[in-house]
């Protein structure tokens, strides 16, 4: 069996949609800058790359056409490198990694660029022309349920209190602010050139987030609900990319692998509680690798909402100190298509940095799915 490794990781700063520093940057330009930097940093000839696989949750407008191919051209990749755009909503760019790993195992290529992008400023959630199927809506209304409502459902069913959600959100901001302050984020960030000058830092983190401040917010989705703008990930602009290749190629090309892919999994769940998706997917992945949760030293669990993150931590029996060590999406932001590659890359980098044997990257997906990637120390 061919071993597949994560051999590089980079991302743009993540900044708030509409008002952030990247709001006026086209998503294809944004992703191209990240891809170009990742390839240059790895120092490999781009013609070695089989394919550029780009995840995007709403691939239309400026992130439409086959944006992966266009990003490849913008990044001046060799024209022999392919380009494919992948949509699994929030799991899109983690899916890119899984596809690359599968191709490598199949012997259909040795090196892949797995990227993700979302400008939530420039392409709205649900796209410009939402046209849900009335018959399906009649049969299964949850298929189109708003994400906030699913977060409320999880909070109710798993009995996650508002105070717990807010404490979790404060923790996320605190960890991210500390990581930022100590320069632990800078290494993964590619400064993005914009008309207003280079953008180098994340824009969503609030070092001053406090439980009292969050407690004052109104529920964002349901009048009698517990989920607020403070306990949901913000609308964000951003791009990310990882270099996925066979261990043999990495060695040949002189790359230092961050981690090996031990197992991957996907699992559907009830769409009304889509936030719980990571539980089944992670269990599957761990079972495939023959481990249990206590073997995990590092977990990157996407924080779409505090309520679902807490429910997943509880159901999976994760140790809190292993989860989102440098902060999660509530603080960093969640540019839908870009999150999967970010948390795979981050988990791999953390495993290399923090030590330990196994790392898990997992996230929930609108419509009712979970996706998980299990990494192992090289």
């Amino acid at each position: 069996m061919t071993h597949v490794v994560i051999a590089g990781y980079a991302r743009s700063p993540f900044t708030p949609a509409k008002k952030g520093a990247l709001a006026r940057v086209r998503p294809d330009d944004l992703a191209a800058q990240v891809v170009r930097k990742l390839v240059a940093g790895a120092g490999l000839p781009s013609k070695d790359i089989e394919d550029l696989i780009v995840g995007c949750a709403f691939p239309e407008g400026e992130q439409g056409f086959n944006v992966a191919r266009l990003i490849g051209m913008l990044a001046d990749l060799d024209l022999t490198v392919g380009g494919v755009t992948v949509n699994r909503f929030c799991g899109s760019s983690m899916q890119s990694v899984h596809m690359a790993a599968g191709q490598i195992a199949l012997g259909a290529g040795e090196a892949f660029l797995c990227a993700g992008v979302e400008s939530m400023s420039r392409v709205p959630m649900m796209g410009f022309n939402p046209l849900p199927n009335p018959a399906l809506h009649g049969k299964r209304p949850g298929a189109y349920m708003g994400m906030g409502d699913t977060a409320e459902n999880v909070a109710r069913r798993w009995e996650i209190s508002r105070a717990d959600q807010e404490a979790f959100a404060v923790g996320s901001h605190r960890k991210a602010a500390r990581a930022q302050g100590e320069g632990r984020l800078a290494a993964e960030i590619v400064p993005i050139a914009t008309k207003g000058g280079p953008v180098e830092a994340d824009g969503c983190i609030r070092a001053d987030a406090s439980a009292e401040g969050l407690a004052a917010l109104k529920p964002a989705f349901q009048r009698d609900g517990t989920v607020t703008a403070g306990t949901a990930s913000p609308l964000t602009d951003g791009a990310s990319a990882v270099l996925v290749c066979s261990e043999a190629y990495a060695r040949r090309a002189g790359l230092t692998p961050l981690a090996r892919i031990a197992a991957v999994a996907i699992s559907g769940c009830e769409p009304e509680v889509m936030g719980i998706g990571p539980v089944a997917a992670s269990r599957k992945a761990m079972a495939r690798a023959g481990i249990t949760a206590d073997a995990l030293s590092v977990v990157e669990l996407n924080e779409a909402f505090a309520s679902q993150a807490l429910a997943c931590i509880r159901d999976l029996g994760l140790r809190e100190e292993t989860v989102n060590i440098d902060g999660g999406a509530i603080a960093l932001g969640h540019p839908l298509g870009a999150t999967g590659a970010r948390i795979v890359g981050k988990a791999a980098a953390l495993l290399a940095r923090e030590g330990g044997r196994f790392a898990l990257a997992t996230q929930c997906i609108g419509g009712g799915q979970g996706i998980a990637t299990l990494l192992e120390r090289v």
Partner: protein, 773 residues
């Protein structure tokens, strides 16, 4: 000086920043400057803070966020030389002669020669302001006295001195008239000019009389308000509105400036109560309250009023004076026996006498004094119009009875009135005792003037059609609140036929406070209560057909709204070839608020407009979603400029700043369209069908979950979603206008049969606001 392209306003207080905002509303760039407070981190902080405050002001100071971008926030230390860029400098600094003159000297050192400089002083005479200043400065100097808030108050008092260049003053006046929409009243260089001199006299007198006669403040306001055509705030409510602290301040400066023999002094008295209220922070509505306050103790809001006798707050009492309700007109109120009649006379007798005394003193022009009070204090009738209504002999007689001096102009009336209509022209009495025809400024056309000599071409109980010359006709709504009903549609239908046969163009315009508040809900409720569903549907169809005929008539139709144009009143604009809107037009499709969908073609026209908007992304949904967002929330544009952003107005539709110029502008626009006129092409629409409707309903449900939309809002939104998405249409279909009209009518009829919609009708009729059910 050739024109005003850029203005500087110095002083970023409430008035200065309000004036700057309104100049920006006219699309003219403004430099707003103030001092640099000691140790300030932001040297432009005062001006910047003022603009931020103006952006939040209620009622809005800016007509659009774009206007705010035209105000550049600067300071007097670093940017004084930039005064070179401007054509008009408005000084709005502290009311101190030395401070103003010191500033003028600094201005004089940098301004271009010929740049107009004006002061917004309300009390310091021009003579004093220019004393000792160079000749060149005096030549370019005048007083421009705005009223608060500058966007909404239409009066501008202008004072020029003997050395002021008349051409320069005319340029400023013309700019203020056409671009800022102000009515100019020229005043003599006398303290307080006209409006405040008389207005403060009246206020002072009304407070003293209430105190003397033991009249409660609520009763005083009820007597002083509506019966005399004065806003219902009366006197005490007005003082609360403008600020209690303004009263002693203005009174003091007027007393200091007026000669001892002036009657102003006789009515003055110390008001310890007012001084105490101000000291305690009861400065009026901007403070903790004033003569009235809302007491929030115990979690409940109780309206309270001051007892003038004890000086303590007590629960506000509803005024119950049947005799006041029955009294028709100001004279009848003055004739009432007892406290009400006594109080009315004690206030208005001396006020009218004082007004008569201002002729020759503050202005030679009786009509100007009336105009100043109408526009500066929102009186329906100026003092001389009031005297005509009350009877000059009656006023003179009662003054004499009281042992008061009767002003000569009043004594000399001898049965005449101050105004008369002669040969279809309105005339006013001059100080010399002659009548002079009132001439409107060039470019001002008023339907009320036309009516003096003309008969309507067509007329019924709800509307009339007038010939306004040059082959142009004017369709006027005449019903209560200009509500639209079957009669309106019938007459509009006849008007279309008549214009087609005999005239060139049609203007839809009226001089009511509001263009139209929409369809008559009272009639609809009545019909619903007797289950006359067929009648209701017939009226919906009639409106659809009539507006359709209007749109496709073989002559240009120009609508000219001012004030509110809601519901059916908005839909008539949407079916016009062009709109010339007064800047203060408040336009919206508000049907959803009363539980309906627009059904006189409003949905259809808005869809066509948004589908034709190249700024939207492609596909079947963006236009539909935009219209849904605007209509389902019953959004009303807060200015004509905002109405453009919402596409209630087209980009090429015109905006007139001065209300008095609206009809002439609309007529000119109509005439310009006559040659080569061709009716518009009907719209054809591609709509998303049921999938699109589902997406819209899901959005509405999100609002309901958050507690923003009610249960019935969802029902209404569902019907609206169905209309806007084209009913059962497939997105490959092309729908014509009739298909959308059918959907509008079906949705309307389903909703009008719901209890919840009828409850909304009832609450609007009773309280003016729809119940949130």
């Amino acid at each position: 000086m050739t024109g005003i392209r850029k203005v500087a306003v110095i002083g970023a207080g409430v008035m200065g920043s309000g004036i700057a905002a309104h100049i920006a509303n006219a699309g003219v760039p403004v430099l707003l400057m103030d001092i640099v407070p000691e140790g300030a981190a932001d040297r432009n902080g005062l001006a910047r803070g003022a603009v931020a405050g103006m952006l939040k002001a209620e009622p809005a100071a800016f007509m659009s966020p774009r206007a705010a971008k035209l105000v550049e926030t600067l300071n007097l230390e670093d940017h004084l030389d930039r005064l070179r860029e401007v054509d008009w400098i408005v000084e709005v600094v502290i009311e101190r002669l030395d401070a103003k003159q010191a500033l003028y000297r600094r201005i004089e050192a940098v301004r271009k020669p010929g740049t107009a400089v004006s002061s917004n002083t309300s009390t310091i005479p021009l003579d004093a302001l220019v004393e000792g200043m160079p000749e060149a400065f005096a030549k370019d100097f005048l007083i421009t006295h705005f009223f608060n808030p500058p966007r909404y108050m239409r009066l501008l008092e202008i004072v020029t001195g003997p050395r002021t260049d008349p051409a320069l003053a005319a340029t400023v006046a013309d700019f203020a008239d056409r671009r800022l929409g102000k009515s100019i009243v020229r005043c003599k260089d006398r303290p307080g000019f006209i409006a405040n001199r008389l207005g403060i006299f009246w206020i002072q007198n009304a407070i003293a009389a209430a105190d003397d006669l033991g009249v409660p403040v609520e009763e005083a306001d009820a007597v002083m308000g509506r019966p005399f055509g004065i806003p219902k705030t009366g006197v005490f409510g007005l003082v609360d509105l403008v600020g209690l602290d303004l009263i002693p301040h203005t009174t003091r400066s007027l007393r200091a400036a007026l000669p001892p023999e002036d009657a102003f002094h006789a009515t003055f008295r110390e008001m310890p109560l007012i001084a105490r209220l101000i000291a305690e922070g009861y400065t009026g509505r901007k403070g903790k309250g004033g003569f009235y306050r809302l007491n929030r103790e115990g979690g409940r809001k109780t309206k309270e009023a001051i007892d003038l006798g004890t000086g303590a707050y007590r629960p506000s009492a509803k005024v119950d004076l049947p005799e006041l309700k029955e009294a028709k007109g100001p004279r009848a109120v003055l004739d009432l026996p007892g406290r009400v009649g006594d109080y009315a006379w004690r206030v208005m007798g001396p006020t009218l006498a004082y007004a008569a005394g201002l002729v020759g003193e503050a202005s030679d022009d009786i009509a100007a004094i009336d105009e100043a009070m109408r526009l500066g204090y929102n009186w329906k009738w100026g003092p001389f119009e009031l005297i005509d209504r009350i009877g000059g002999a009656f006023v003179a007689g009662r003054l004499a009875e009281d042992g008061c001096a009767v002003p000569p102009i009043l004594a000399g009336l001898e049965g005449k009135t101050f105004y008369r209509v002669e040969n279809g022209q309105r005339q006013v009495l001059t100080a010399g005792g002659e009548y002079q025809t009132l001439v409107r400024p060039e470019g001002v056309l008023r339907l009320e003037d036309i009516k003096l000599s003309a008969k309507p071409l067509l007329k019924n109980g709800s509307a009339a059609l007038w010939d306004i010359g040059d082959g142009v006709t004017c369709f006027e709504f005449t019903s209560q609140a200009n509500a639209l009903d079957e009669q309106t549609m019938v007459l509009l239908g006849k008007a279309i036929k008549l214009v087609k046969a005999q005239y060139k163009a049609l203007v839809i315009y009226n001089e009511g406070a509001n263009f139209s508040v929409g369809a008559n809900l009272g009639l609809a409720l009545f019909a619903a209560n007797i289950a006359a569903w067929g009648e209701i549907e017939k009226l919906v169809s009639l409106g659809q057909q009539t507006y359709g005929h209007l749109k496709y008539a073989p002559f240009p139709v120009v609508s000219a709204p001012s004030g509110m144009a809601l519901g059916g009143g908005c839909e008539i604009l949407l079916h016009s070839d062009a709109v010339q809107a007064h800047a203060e037009s408040y336009i919206g499709l508000v049907e959803a608020g009363v539980g309906l969908v627009p059904a006189w073609g409003g949905c259809k026209e808005m869809l066509a407009r948004w589908q034709g908007n190249p700024a939207l992304p492609k596909g079947p949904m963006p236009a539909v979603a935009k219209v849904f967002e605007t209509v389902s929330t019953a959004t009303v544009a807060k200015s004509a400029q905002e109405a453009r952003d919402l596409l209630f107005l087209r980009p090429e539709d015109g905006i007139t700043m001065n209300r008095d110029r609206l009809l002439a502008d609309a007529k000119a626009r109509a005439l310009a369209m006559v040659e080569g006129y061709a009716p518009p092409e009907p719209a054809s629409l591609t709509l998303p069908g049921p999938s699109g409707a589902l997406a819209l309903r899901m959005a509405a449900e999100g609002f309901a979950n958050r507690g923003i939309a009610t249960a019935h809002d969802l029902v209404v939104a569902g019907e609206l979603a169905r209309v806007l998405s084209g009913g059962g249409a497939d997105l490959l279909d092309t729908l014509d206008e009739d298909a959308i009209l059918d959907l509008e009518r079906e949705g309307f009829m389903r909703l009008v049969r719901t209890e919840a919609t009828l409850e909304r009708f009832e609450s609007v009729i009773e309280t003016g606001r729809p119940v949130r059910n």
